[in-house]
Amino acid sequence: MVEFFHHNLSYFLSGISVGGQYALIAIGYTMVYGILRLINFAHGDVFMCAGLMMVYLSASLPFVISVPLVLVLTVVLGFIIERVAYRPLRSAPRMSVMISAIGVSYLLQNAALYFTGGLAKVYPEIPFLSSSVTIWGATTRVVTIVTPFLTVILVVLLSLLIKHTKIGMAMRAVSRDFETSQLMGIKINRVISITFMIGSLLAAVASFLYFTNYASVTPSSGAMPGLKAFVAAVFGGIGSIPGAVIGAFIIGICENIIKGGASIFGIPGSGWTTFSDAFTFAFLIVVLVVKPTGLFGEKSVDKV
């Protein structure tokens, strides 16, 4: 067992690392869904934009400035998207808001396409995070090791924020009952804005970790991680933060095991890797069929 684990350590390491990155993105999805019942399709692209900002800013600024600046700009981006694309549609049917989200996603991708000229941009090497380390015989980057810890720390901080601060309480109230909390004097718009800003902040952190690992940013870089993170959020029970985090780690690890399937299980390559993305969905569907609201989702009962 230990031998097996040792031999395949590199798969598990990259699985845990990518899982942590998905988790940070997934929180953004799940929080927004909890409050607005909106699948924020643009979230993956906010993540991609954070990556691009870093590419452009670090070209002229030192990391001490560019890293915080990227965090701030991403938060601003999240805020603007909510303000411009979602708030005007607050009373519109849910489908319209979701279409707006798809529209924003499309817009961000195409803007990135135009400004990058459709080429992959090389992500800067962040000192320390980018250096290689060897752990128990597996060579990897420091970022791989840092990611899960950073993720857990951020999630704990976020849970404390939601449990113990006034704004956190407001968030919980709004996600429980939108109308009533409005009547109770909670400033809904403020809560929603802050939710988007927190989500964007975490996406920006995820972008540092993710792109340091994979080194290049393209306009479509956000699509797949975004989709996977969203699946993780649904998988864990959308609206539940611990659910999203656990879902993300499970998906990250499974995905890497599938990719390494031929080597791990000694099954000669019969196109396993074709299914590394599809597997995520297959897993999700099985979970949904067995437990229609995800692992930690609350059951909703229609009043008749």
Binding site: H7, N8, S10, Y11, S14, V18, L113, G117, G118, L119, A120, V122, S130, S132, T134, T139, T140, R141, N213, Y214, A215, S216, T218, S220, S221, A223, M224, E255, N256, K259, G260, A262, S263, G269, G271, T273, T274, S276, D277
Partner: protein, 390 residues
């Protein structure tokens, strides 16, 4: 307010229609050459470099004399977005713009996908660096000035077996990509016939995590990592190979002959060898003049990947332009049908060597493959002895 906006929208759309419909009066002394290249997507970088070669040649020789008339050559660009489903529409745009001949594309899949549109319109196309046999096979309108994958794959397999001494090779292709899939296939065919062993895998579109594939290569005890994929994926592979300590030579085909690769490999612990169409330095005159031209304009420089390294695809694009001009002259007309007829017998001496086409599929008759090795210290290519096959 909303209705006013609607009026505005309708007005805008009708003006679009007007301008898009009537493309302007036809100038009888203009001959149009279509540039069917990707400017975005996976192969955007390579497509842009190939386009640069065409543009440079057009800059040097903006006119052509057909019969007794001197025509101005107008390049019509259409971005096929490296995507097979967009290719047909991009091709239709070129056909609709009355191009006499079309150049491109970088990437075999898009060429195959656009091929039928050209066939139906009767417009000849000249493949520049699309190496998959299916591009020209069984048709009379698609030509090509580069060598083919069975040839390149054989050369690469020989190189891995004989020069690198490898007996087990890891092959990684992109799922659904005719170029990498085809090349890997011919490589495997040859390598196995030499007595070697291969592990072959594919990665899906949009994949950016190659760590598991690299781990697979290491764990399965392979000695060479063969991955002739797009430059986009190549950057990621180089980066992750370095951070994971791949520890075996990486071998790739002509796509990797790009400064994108050099930039990614600079300062990294990787060993990269590629085969290509043209090694920088083979024609110093061309090299120097092209560098000057590229450095004169920031957009060109950006399109070339930020520096003035000459990619083989640029040289091929350059040759393709002159090949097309020669065909136009031989045809004595700008009618696509005449050009198509003339192409079979067109020959030129380009910077990448003598170009003549065979009479079966209209493929170039070439027997030389250049081999380059990435120098990770200087960030340039070191030329290795070229391979000549008889």
């Amino acid at each position: 307010m909303k209705k006013g906006f609607l009026v505005f929208l309708v007005a805008l759309m009708s003006s679009f229609m007007l301008f898009a419909g009537g493309a302007g009066e036809e100038d009888s002394t203009v001959v149009k050459i279509g540039v069917f290249e990707p400017a975005s997507g996976d192969n955007g970088a390579g497509g842009k470099q190939e386009t640069l070669g065409i543009q440079y040649a057009n800059y040097l020789t903006p006119t052509v004399t057909i019969g007794d008339t001197e025509y101005t050559v107008e390049l019509v660009m259409a971005d096929n977005e490296s995507s097979n489903d967009r290719a047909a529409t991009a091709a239709a745009t070129l056909v609709n713009a009355d191009c006499s001949v079309v150049l491109g594309s970088y990437g075999s899949g898009v060429s195959i996908a656009g091929s039928d549109t050209f066939r139906i319109a009767g417009v000849p196309a000249i493949g520049i660096t699309c190496t998959n046999p299916q591009v020209t096979e069984g048709n009379t309108h698609y030509f090509r000035i580069c060598y083919l994958d069975p040839f390149q794959g054989t050369v690469l397999a020989n190189y891995a077996y004989d020069t690198l001494g490898a007996r087990k090779v890891y092959c990684l292709a992109k799922l659904g990509d005719d170029y990498s899939g085809g090349l890997v296939n011919y490589f495997i065919e040859r390598f196995k016939s030499l007595g070697g062993e291969v592990v072959s895998e594919t990665f899906p579109e949009g994949n950016s995590d190659f760590t598991s594939y690299i781990a697979n290569a290491k764990n399965s005890g392979c000695e060479v990592f063969f991955s002739p994929v797009s430059t986009e994926a190549a950057q990621l592979i180089i980066n992750q190979a370095d951070s994971q300590g791949l520890g075996m030579p990486i071998l790739a085909g002509d796509t990797w002959d790009s400064n994108v690769i050099l930039q990614a490999a600079k300062g990294k612990n990787v060993d990269i060898t590629v085969t290509t169409f043209y090694p920088e330095g083979a024609d110093p005159e061309f090299d120097a003049a092209f560098k000057e031209w590229v450095n004169a304009d920031s957009t060109r420089l950006a399109n070339n990947g930020g520096d003035d390294t000459i990619s083989a695809v640029t040289a091929m694009g350059y040759d393709a332009y002159y090949f097309a001009l020669q065909a136009l002259q031989n045809a004595g007309s700008k009618d696509p049908a005449d050009v198509m007829e003339a192409l079979w017998t067109t020959e030129i001496d380009g910077v990448t060597g003598h170009i003549a086409l065979d009479d079966v599929n209209g493929d170039a008759i070439r027997n030389t493959v250049y081999v380059k090795h990435a120098n990770t210290e200087t960030g340039g290519w070191d030329a290795l002895p070229a391979v000549v096959v008889d």
